[in-house]
C-alpha cells in the first residue's frame, strides 16, 4: 500500500521540474535520473552530495527542489518543506505546475512558500504615455505580510513609487514622475521592490529603460468632418421666362404704337417695329433654350461662411492645444531583459 502511494506521487511528479540535459553537474544529473527511476533514497543521497559540490545558482535550486520532491514523496514532509524553502530563496520565481505535480508535493511547496519572505514574479509592463497622463503597470507577489517599498533608482536619483504593508499579488502604477511632478529624466532605471518583515527582508528588481519623445501634435483641419462646403453658385432650371418677357414688352410697344398712331396719317407698315421685335423674339427664344447662367446661392454662401468660421475656430483651438502639447513630454518605458536569476537576499520567517 505504501509503495502504491509512492507510485501515485511519482506518477504525478514525473517530469520533476525541467529536463536533466540543462544540468551540468554529473552528480545532480544522476540524482535526477535516480528520481526518475523511482529510486528515491538514491536520489536524496545524490542530491545531497551534489549540493556539497560546486553548483550554479540554478543547479543549487534544482538540487533543493529535487530534495523537496523526494522528501515529500517519501513522506518526510518537514524536510521536503525545508528543501523547497531553500529552492525558493535561491530562485524566488520558481513555480510548480499544479496540473502536473501531485497535490502532496504542491502542498509542501506552497507551505514552504508561505514560510519564506520573497518578492516573486516582479513584472513591469511596457508603456508609452504623455508625462503626467499615464502610468507604468508594475506587478509582483509578496509571499507573506511585509512592509513593501517600491522605488525607481537611476544613479543618484531614487524616486519612491509606493510604500505599503502588503501580501499576495500587488499592482502598482508608476507615473514616472519626480516628486515635483516633472517627468523622470530619460535613462535606465532599476525598479526595486523591498519587502521587510521584522528581521527578514527580501528585494527584487527589474531594469527599465525610459526614453523621452515629443508629443504628437494635432494636424490642422482643412475641412470639418461630415460637413462639405456647398456650391456658391447654382444653375437655375431652364425656363421660358426670357421669351415670355420679350413677348410681353414687344406686345406693350406694339400695342402702344398701334394706339398712338394717327388715323389721319394712314396705316403705317410697322416694318421698323417688326424688325426689332423679330430680333428680340429670336434672342428671347435662344436665351430660353440656353442653359441659364449660374446664380449666386445665398443660402449656400451663408452656410459656407459659417463653415469657414467654424474651421477657423477649430484650428485656433488646435493651435492652442498644440502649444500646450509641445510643452509636454512623451515617455516610453520598456523593461530590459534580466541578466541573472532571482532577487536579493532573504531570510526565514
Amino acid at each position: 500500500m505504501r509503495h502504491f502511494g509512492w507510485l501515485l506521487v511519482l506518477a504525478f511528479a514525473s517530469p520533476t521540474a525541467a529536463p536533466a540535459q540543462n544540468v551540468q553537474n554529473a552528480t545532480l544529473r544522476r540524482a535526477l535520473a535516480a528520481y526518475d527511476n523511482l529510486d528515491i533514497g538514491q536520489a536524496i543521497l545524490l542530491a545531497k552530495r551534489a549540493l556539497t559540490e560546486r553548483l550554479s545558482g540554478l543547479e543549487q535550486a534544482r538540487a533543493y527542489e529535487l530534495l523537496g520532491f523526494a522528501y515529500s514523496a517519501s513522506d518526510s514532509l518537514l524536510k521536503g518543506v525545508d528543501a523547497f524553502k531553500q529552492a525558493i530563496l535561491i530562485d524566488p520565481d520558481r513555480q510548480l505546475d499544479p496540473a502536473k505535480i501531485s497535490p502532496k508535493i504542491t502542498s509542501s511547496f506552497l507551505l514552504a512558500l508561505s514560510q519564506v519572505l520573497v518578492v516573486r514574479q516582479l513584472q513591469v509592463d511596457s508603456a508609452s504615455f504623455v508625462g503626467g497622463k499615464g502610468f507604468v503597470p508594475i506587478r509582483f507577489t509578496v509571499t507573506s505580510p511585509a512592509r513593501v517599498r517600491t522605488r525607481a533608482v537611476s544613479g543618484a536619483t531614487s524616486v519612491p513609487i509606493d510604500s505599503s504593508v502588503a501580501t499576495g499579488q500587488v499592482n502598482l502604477r508608476w507615473q514616472a514622475q519626480l516628486p515635483n511632478g516633472d517627468p523622470v529624466p530619460d535613462g535606465n532605471y532599476l525598479i526595486v521592490v523591498e519587502a521587510t518583515a521584522g528581521q527578514n527582508s527580501f528585494s527584487a528588481s527589474q531594469t527599465v529603460k525610459v526614453t523621452h519623445g515629443a508629443v504628437d501634435t494635432l494636424p490642422h483641419l482643412t475641412a470639418l468632418p461630415g460637413y462639405a462646403p456647398l456650391p456658391e453658385e447654382e444653375t437655375p432650371p431652364r425656363n421660358w421666362t426670357p421669351l415670355g418677357r420679350v413677348f410681353l414688352y414687344t406686345g406693350i410697344v406694339g400695342a402702344g404704337t398701334f394706339a398712338l398712331e394717327s388715323s389721319r396719317l394712314g396705316s403705317a407698315p410697322r416694318r421698323e417695329l417688326a424688325a426689332v421685335s423679330v430680333g428680340a423674339i429670336l434672342t428671347g427664344f435662344i436665351m430660353s433654350l440656353k442653359k441659364p447662367a449660374p446664380q449666386p446661392a445665398r443660402g449656400n454662401i451663408l452656410y459656407n461662411r459659417l463653415l469657414r468660421e467654424q474651421l477657423v475656430r477649430r484650428n485656433a483651438d488646435i493651435a492652442q492645444q498644440n502649444q500646450s502639447l509641445r510643452r509636454q513630454v512623451a515617455l516610453k518605458v520598456v523593461p530590459l531583459p534580466k541578466s541573472g536569476g532571482g532577487g536579493g537576499g532573504g531570510g526565514w520567517q
Binding site: V246, V253, L260, R264, L265, A268, P292
Partner: protein, 216 residues
C-alpha cells in the same frame, strides 16, 4: 450750323466723360437705320435709310446715351414729291431708381435738309426706361417718354408728344461686343399758329436701328 454744334458738343461731352470713366462703363455703337416719316395726312409719307452712331456711358446709377441718326427720306406714294435728309440727335440722361427702372430725361432734335421739306423739331423728353436681362449677355429695354416743349421750324407748338422705344442687345457677357437693335416711335400733334386754318398737324416717325456696339 446750330445742329452740328449740338452734335459735336454732345459727342465731345460723352467721349470726354468716357475717357475718365472705367473701361467697362462706356460703349460705342454704329448702326444701320431705316424709318418711316409721316406728316399732315396720309399723302405725305416718306421712307428712308441711313446710318446712326451712339455713345453710351454709365457710371454708378447715372447713364447717358447720345445717338445721332442720319436718314435720307424719299417720298413713298401720295402727294409727296421731294426727298430730304433728316439728322436726328437724341440724348437720354438716366438715373437708376429701382427694379431695373430708371428715370429718363434728355432731348430730341431733328433737322431737315432742305430746311422746309419737312418740319424740323426739337423737344425735351421726360419718362422712364426699364432694362431687363433675358439671359447671359442679353438685355431688353422698354422706354416711354413724354415729349415736352416741342418747337418746330414752321412754328407752332405741340401739346401732345409721345415717344415709345424698344431695344434689344445681345453679345458677350462682358459687354465688349454686342449686337443691338433699337426701335423708336414718335408721335407729335403740332398746333399751327399765325391764323393758319387746319388745327392740328400730326407728325409721326418710326425708326429702327440695327448694328453693333463695342465696350471700352
Amino acid at each position: 450750323m446750330a445742329m452740328r454744334r449740338l452734335v459735336v458738343v454732345s459727342l465731345a461731352l460723352c467721349v470726354g466723360a468716357a475717357a475718365g470713366a472705367g473701361a467697362q462703363h462706356v460703349s460705342l455703337g454704329v448702326q444701320g437705320a431705316f424709318g418711316d416719316y409721316r406728316e399732315v395726312d396720309s399723302s405725305l409719307v416718306y421712307r428712308g435709310a441711313g446710318i446712326a452712331g451712339a455713345v453710351t456711358l454709365f457710371w454708378h446709377k447715372l447713364g447717358v446715351d447720345v445717338e445721332v441718326t442720319r436718314l435720307s427720306y424719299d417720298p413713298h406714294g401720295g402727294g409727296a414729291d421731294s426727298s430730304f435728309k433728316s439728322t436726328q440727335v437724341d440724348m437720354h440722361l438716366r438715373w437708376y431708381i429701382a427694379n431695373q427702372v430708371s428715370f429718363e430725361t434728355g432731348f430730341t432734335k431733328r433737322t431737315m435738309d432742305p430746311e422746309f421739306a419737312a418740319q424740323s423739331m426739337g423737344a425735351v423728353r421726360i419718362g422712364a426706361r426699364g432694362l431687363y436681362s433675358i439671359g447671359t449677355g442679353a438685355s431688353l429695354s422698354l422706354r416711354g417718354n413724354y415729349l415736352a416743349g416741342s418747337k418746330f421750324s414752321g412754328g407752332g407748338s405741340a401739346g401732345f408728344g409721345v415717344e415709345l422705344g424698344l431695344g434689344i442687345s445681345v453679345g458677350r457677357s462682358d459687354g465688349r461686343l454686342r449686337a443691338t437693335g433699337d426701335y423708336g416711335f414718335q408721335r407729335v400733334n403740332r398746333k399751327r399758329t399765325g391764323g393758319v386754318v387746319g388745327g392740328d398737324v400730326p407728325i409721326q416717325q418710326s425708326l429702327a436701328r440695327l448694328g453693333v456696339s463695342v465696350g471700352l
